[in-house]
């Protein structure tokens, strides 16, 4: 059996304004406040293309190894829905701005190259707010999202497992965050995914039966994409077993070619008694039960009556424009990963976390390393403390009060003063709180430099000399007795001695004691 998966991914581009008007694209504004006559589709208004959105879309397409069309146009996709005030969506139909790219993914089964059919630009629709009480109250429409630039990336149906689909999505997210084209937040809807799934089941004659394709719509997390696909595969196999020989039959008259497979399709008897192909259908995914829910099969495919939008002029893209965008593309994540490993000697694990969190985060790490000279330590702090703080504070690294440079100074300072991890964290917290530099934070906390080994040694010797009982206990094998010596020094230094150094000195001196 072979599973066939193709993904349609929608990402919102990181523009300040919408695709065809000047309204803000900020997430979470009060309903219908980020709107104007144009995005509300008021009679008489006209769209004007946002150049920046087009640039970002080209950047993404180039990062996906797509070729950029020299001539591209806008089309209207006509359908009636209340979240679409014009009752048509401005999209791209037969001449998308980019075609045929690929993405390298990695799964437990090894590396794989997934082909990309096309990437095109379109405007987002608004949001429907239904009566939550289910009492049949009026539905409301919020048009803030209407007209937000969306990049639709359509893969070839080349993925064969739910795991590959997940890896593909993770890779797209990492790539588009890395080149700062989209923040790809599935919960906020800036990355959305529809999955087309079916299975090819082998027959005795060497051909395969293809189950009807099901498009699972509006998957809202990468985990749910994986769950939905896994469930849908089982569901289709069951459906096939139940229906063949009853409502469905295999079309024995012809085969089509899919890769190296000869594939037969399924038919059903329509209301006129004729055998016709079972059509593609759509499904939703019920998060609570982990189930895909098939929506009614339609007799005919939807007809969107696409035609070129007469309100917009076609975009002519020059070689220079493409070269300029390529120039701004910078280092792609895959190259960045390799460089971080070779230049800084980072582990694959650390380098991967850095890259995955986007280009500003890598910049943060590199700035810190440049100042402190210790890449390993900088990576540790960045991927542990800083990442969890960012999450807790709901901030991006750009908004984080401690810059990479400040982190570097801090790391250099704690190394110089040999501060232990706990003290270091206190200093870091103080820096975060007050916005001050490491030195100022250390001063404010009253931490003195007690890193001098000679000074510590002198204190340890004094403690041993004045604590004969502890020495005797230690000699009798009570290792715990050393704590009394350490406690003495800690009191003397107000807790500022480097614990590792102190431990070593105490053991050395106790061993020397008569």
């Amino acid at each position: 059996m072979h599973v066939v998966i193709g993904l349609e991914v929608h990402v919102q581009l990181l523009t300040r304004t919408k695709l065809f008007c000047g309204c803000s694209t900020e997430f979470g504004l009060p309903p219908n406040t980020a709107t104007c006559p144009v995005c509300c589709g008021l009679p008489g208004t006209l769209p004007v293309m946002n150049e920046h959105a087009f640039q970002l879309a080209m950047k993404a397409a180039l990062a996906l190894h797509c070729s950029i069309a020299r001539y591209t146009k806008w089309d209207r996709k006509n359908y009636f829905y209340p979240d679409l005030p014009k009752n048509y969506q401005i999209s791209q139909y037969d001449l998308p701005f980019s075609n045929e790219g690929w993405l390298d993914i990695e799964t437990s089964a090894g590396p794989k190259k997934v082909g990309i059919l096309r990437a095109h630009l379109e405007e987002d629709a608004g949001k429907m707010l239904h009566d939550e009480a289910g009492a049949g109250g009026d539905s409301l429409v919020d048009l803030n999202r209407t007209g937000t630039p969306l990049l639709e990336i359509v893969s070839h149906p080349e993925m064969e497992t739910a795991e590959q689909a997940r890896a593909y999505l993770e890779k797209i997210r990492e790539l588009l965050r890395g080149i700062e084209v989209s923040d790809c937040e599935m919960q906020e809807g800036s990355l959305r995914c529809d999955a087309n799934v079916n299975v090819h089941v082998p027959q005795v004659d060497g051909t395969f039966v293809a189950t009807p394709i099901v498009e699972i719509k509006n998957l809202n997390s990468i985990r749910n994409v994986e769950r939905a696909i896994a469930h849908e595969i089982d569901r289709q196999l069951n459906e096939l077993k139940e229906n063949v020989g009853k409502e469905w039959r295999i079309d024995e008259s012809k085969t089509s070619v899919f890769g190296d497979r000869k594939v037969r399709r399924l038919e059903f008897k329509n209301k006129d008694g004729a055998w016709v192909p079972v059509s593609k259908t759509t499904a939703g995914f019920d998060d609570r039960f982990g189930r895909t829910e098939i929506q009614r099969r339609k007799e005919e495919a939807s007809d969107y009556r696409y035609f070129p939008d007469p309100d917009l002029v076609p975009a002519i893209v020059s070689e220079e424009q493409i070269a300029r965008v390529k120039g701004k593309l910078g280092e792609l994540p895959e190259h960045q990963l390799a460089r971080l490993r070779s230049q800084y000697g980072l582990s694959e694990y650390d380098a991967d976390i850095l890259v995955r969190n986007g280009r500003p985060f890598v910049g943060f790490f590199e700035a810190a390393t440049e100042v402190c000279g210790d890449a390993k330590e900088a990576a540790n702090w960045a991927t542990n403390d800083v990442l969890s703080l960012l999450k807790a504070r709901n901030e991006t690294v750009v908004e984080f009060p401690i810059t990479g440079h400040k982190l570097g100074e801090f790391l250099a300072e704690i190394k110089k003063r040999k501060l232990n991890k706990q003290r270091a964290r206190e200093v870091f917290a103080e820096m975060l709180e007050s916005g001050s530099h490491a030195v100022a934070a250390i001063g404010k906390l009253g931490i003195q430099s007690v890193a001098d080994e000679g000074q510590l040694l002198e204190m340890v010797q004094r403690a041993i000399a004045s604590n004969a009982k502890a020495v005797a206990d230690f000699k009798k094998g009570k290792v715990k007795a050393a704590d009394a010596i350490k406690g003495f020094v800690m009191r003397e230094t107000k807790g500022q001695a480097d614990t590792e150094v102190l431990q070593r000195l105490v053991l050395e001196e106790l061993a020397k004691a008569p």
Binding site: G44, D303, D311, V313
Partner: protein, 489 residues
């Protein structure tokens, strides 16, 4: 005063013989006297008109600089958005729509210190050639109240012809400025597609629609065009060129001048009186020194069919937004969303609009789009090529504007095909995107005005206006007034 041109009204104000308020009052009087019969206006707020006029007078008194249309009343077809004023498009579905913004042409009229003088009747959504498709009223031809004024900008044309206003704006998608100008005995122009911004023009056929001026002579048309033309950053289909001071050059005759005459424009169905008037006009140009040359437009016989596929396809999409959800009339009783859509649209749209939406949706449907819509786009290209070739040999192409003089109210309303043919000579210009103008060229034996159409290459409005002005100066047609105005004086 109401029979004066905009140029003359401007002079009266400059010399202190009149002011914007007295001019506005004179035209408001004329509306009061005649519009009960003509029915050109849908909406006219007298207080608002006088407020604007007084503001212009105050500006003049304060010696502030004034625009080229200072104190001149301009009526506007009800398809153009004026902030806070109704814009019904002659449709019930937009009965209560008041746009929150000004169309670019309206903003430009304000900048030119014009007095916005109400909105005029039209065929619903500009679909028609007689103004009988208005959901509100049937405008009458001031020359004969039993006849139609043409359409779809029939209200704007009739208002100027009846001297209810010196200037007005219409829109021309297939002849909707030129044909009513011809039927009402005034001058009307469709500029090059892209010459005037479409922002705030409620769309019918977006790739064909263009705002155009009406006036009682070519000089005034030049003045109004120069005030509204030019690139608009809100309309990406508007051309990059700034406006041109057409009124400064319009009086200069074009020499040498080659006039193209296409045999396709003297086809079967052309009224003999119209043909005679147009041929006489050719003689006038000859006497002015013009060279006459035969040109050919072989694909023009496909123009009407092509137009009714392209325009309706675009309309089916443009008019989808009137669904009772966001805009327009919402049915009182409905069960669910689909029913709300169907009832609201069913109640709100008139017959001709429904017919064109269905035709357009069909032309775009999967399985038919190649044979109809895409084929029409190819033919459209051929029609454009015909003109490109013809204009290599001549400055302007001359022919009739409409195949007949004004017809009687109700005469063609039961026969849509006969109605569609009244635009047979105007439609090609919209498909090709070229400018065209209609100028009065005589009268039928029953006293109805006849029109001459001149077409030019894209962005050759200056040339077109100069050539039209030469004819106008050599003839006296523009001085005649409809009986109801003549009686007045």
């Amino acid at each position: 005063m109401i029979q004066l041109t905009a140029h003359e009204l401007r002079r009266l104000q400059e010399t202190g013989q009149a002011n914007a308020e007295s001019i506005a009052r004179a035209f408001l009087d004329a509306v009061r006297r005649h519009d009960g019969q003509v029915k050109a206006f849908l909406h006219l707020d007298e207080d608002e008109v006088l407020r604007q006029a007084k503001a212009i007078d105050a500006k003049r008194a304060a010696k502030q600089p004034l625009g080229p249309l200072a104190g001149i009343p301009v009526a506007i077809k009800d398809v153009l958005c004026v902030q806070g004023q109704p814009a019904t498009c002659g449709s019930k579905i937009l009965q209560n729509f008041r746009p929150p913004y000004d169309a670019t042409v309206v903003a430009k009229l304000r900048e030119a210190d014009a007095v916005l003088f109400g909105s005029t009747n039209m065929d619903e959504f500009a679909m028609g050639s007689s103004t009988e498709n208005s959901a509100y009223q049937t405008t009458r031809n001031p020359w004969n109240l039993d006849c139609v004024p043409g359409g779809s900008s029939g209200g704007s044309a009739a208002a100027v012809a009846a001297c209810e206003v010196p200037l007005s704006l219409g829109t021309d998608t297939g002849g909707s400025v030129r044909q009513p100008a011809s039927l009402c005995g005034i001058v009307g122009m469709k500029p090059t597609y892209g010459r005037v911004s479409r922002y705030g023009l409620i769309a019918y056929g977006s790739s064909l629609d263009q705002v155009g001026p009406f006036a009682r002579d070519v000089g005034d048309v030049a003045l109004l065009l120069e005030s509204i033309a030019g690139h608009d950053p809100r309309d990406s289909t508007s051309g990059p060129r700034p406006s041109v001071a057409y009124s400064q050059t319009v009086d200069q005759p074009l020499k040498p001048l080659t006039i193209g005459v296409a045999k396709e424009y003297f086809a079967e169905g052309l009224d003999p009186e119209v043909e005679k008037a147009v041929r006489t006009a050719i003689d006038v140009y000859k006497s002015l020194g013009a060279t006459i040359k035969d040109v050919t437009l072989p694909h023009s016989r496909f123009a009407v069919a092509t137009y009714y596929l392209v325009a309706t396809a675009e309309a089916s999409s443009n008019l989808a937004r009137y669904d009772g959800v966001h805009f327009g009339h919402r049915a009182a009783d409905y069960r669910g969303l689909r029913d709300m859509h169907c009832k609201s649209r069913g109640e709100g749209f008139g017959t001709e609009v429904k017919r064109r939406i269905m035709l357009g949706a069909y032309a775009l449907s999967s399985g038919y789009v190649d044979a109809y819509y895409l084929k029409a786009l190819k033919v459209r290209r051929l029609i454009k090529n015909d003109f490109d070739q013809a204009f290599a040999d001549c400055d302007v192409i001359l022919g009739p504007t409409s195949p007949t003089p004004a017809f009687r109210v109700g005469e063609k309303s039961a026969d849509p095909l006969a109605m569609y043919l009244s635009d047979i000579y105007t439609i090609s210009a919209n498909l090709a995107g070229i400018p065209g103008i209609s100028v009065p060229c005589g009268f039928s034996s029953s006293g109805l005005p006849l029109g001459l159409q001149l077409l030019a290459a894209p962005y050759e409005e200056e040339k077109l206006l100069r050539v039209a002005r030469m004819y106008e100066q050599a003839t006296e047609w523009r001085r005649r007034r409809p009986p109801l105005v003549a009686k007045d004086a």
